[in-house]
Symmetry: C3
Subunit: 209 residues, 3 copies
């Protein structure tokens, strides 16, 4: 069973590595920096989670994550070199899948340490979002997370659902699937219909700085 | 007594959460990203401190910090939605208070672990300044910390005073108040009179890159 | 012998502190923020390494690192104030030396913890490159690491050589020198002849975003 989780984790790493490679291509980067950007995107969020939860960082003694990243990056580069352009949509799609996998895996890791529910949800957000935040900061983009569209909140919804299902003694696998699909659908809906939750009432002639 | 420190800590978290929300509004952000930016500002510095000192991260098993952030952000949003603009001065004021609380709480946490005095002072700077640095990096602003005005050095002054008073066996509360007020007054003075410590002698026709 | 390593470590800290000060000058920064930028450059990479390897952060109970930074920054400021400009070349040279020292010291620290070889190499990259990445992010530059020229890959080459030599039971000192010189020469060659490893085949009329 843990075997299965490991594969899901690797899948999350792969899609985020792809998303890092796509953004590197978008920003006309080149060379080995591309792999660094992909790696930071893929394992950055989980690394921060493990540091904060004070558990061994997941990739330090397990080389499968690094190999996954290298394979994912290599395939993406091959693909990009054959089709010189790609719609921005694919980047956001890869990001949505990574978000969903990572958030639930992060929540699961936290729930096993018996931290409060709010911390479980925060860990889901961190695992899911912070790799992408580091990616965007390094690539000097406005972090997707901080834009108006639903992003972190999809993780909060999915992780809260997951946490509640676990408390209701639902089987772990089922709870994970329910939580993960919630995140994915919410994020895809947000992308499709530009759904956001406006919190500020910006006036037209707002004195923005 | 520890109860009292906890309240001070929460107060620091609240003012930094407000400062994060204000900058999010300033940058025309929206949605849940505002709460993420506020949270990172409020608990980022202390999180880095706890990671480096290798003690449990303060908010992981204590939900009161997260609740404080949510309340502070909600109130700030309400306030901003009623008064569409606010002077930049308030942002800097909130920042100065957060700086002062956090720096002293950081110094206190470090001094209890019996690290060298220089490390105590560095921890004060990290706790006080690094949440704001992350905030500014994410919002793509030049970090206040790196501008010419007195910023980190106010923490150094206050934390050094605090450390020396503790070594002189002054009561903890008194030492904290003395250190905290030093930071606050220095920072407010720096804002009021644009005080900086120029270290470079920039010529007029400097070949800056 | 450990004495000698400590001195090398301090030398790495000094050159990175210089590189941080130079970039602060380049960006027309001033005040104490210069010291913060220099410090983050000098100890940022090693701090992240120690956090991830879950060992005590190297500078927390050893004040010699902080003193080294302060001296290096002070001397650099003096020098800059006498010669108002400096060629960008010196910044890159200081960076190359820091890269080489830090990468090997990072690999050595990791190899002693008996992590997999890939992790040893990653730790070399992190120790060598991440201080500079933080420096560039704070200074709002495109991280050198992400530009096309050989950068991270020099650390990978040097650290791989070092790791293999250690496995072949070569004396530690010799392995370190071989690895370190490899990094330095590769990086200098990359700077001199603009060597990069193009991974993307960018077309002329690429629809870059």
């Amino acid at each position: 069973m843990n075997e299965l989780y490991h594969w899901f984790d690797l899948l999350g790493v792969a899609v985020f590595a792809i998303s890092g490679t796509l953004i590197a291509h978008n920003k006309s980067m080149d060379g080995f920096g591309v792999i660094v950007l992909a790696s930071v995107t893929a394992i950055g969020g989980g690394t921060i989670r493990d540091l904060i939860l004070d558990v061994p960082v997941f990739w330090v003694s397990d080389t499968s994550y690094i190999i996954t990243i290298l394979v994912a990056v290599a395939l993406t580069i091959l693909w990009l070199n054959h089709r010189q352009s790609f719609p921005n949509y694919y980047l956001q799609l890869a990001d949505a899948f990574g978000l969903s996998f990572f958030a639930i895996m992060g929540a699961r890791k936290a729930i096993m340490l018996e931290v409060p529910d709010t911390t479980v949800v925060i860990m889901a957000v961190m695992t899911g979002c912070f790799g992408g935040v580091i990616r965007d900061v390094l690539a000097r983009e406005i972090p997707m997370l901080l834009k108006g569209e639903l992003y972190a909140i999809t993780c909060i919804a999915g992780a809260t659902l997951y946490t509640q299902l676990i408390h209701l003694n639902v089987v772990d696998e089922l709870a994970m699937i329910a939580g993960g699909i919630t995140i994915l659908l919410l994020r895809l809906a947000a992308l499709r219909w530009k759904i956001g939750i406006p919190v500020f009432r910006y006036s037209e002639n707002n004195n923005r700085q």
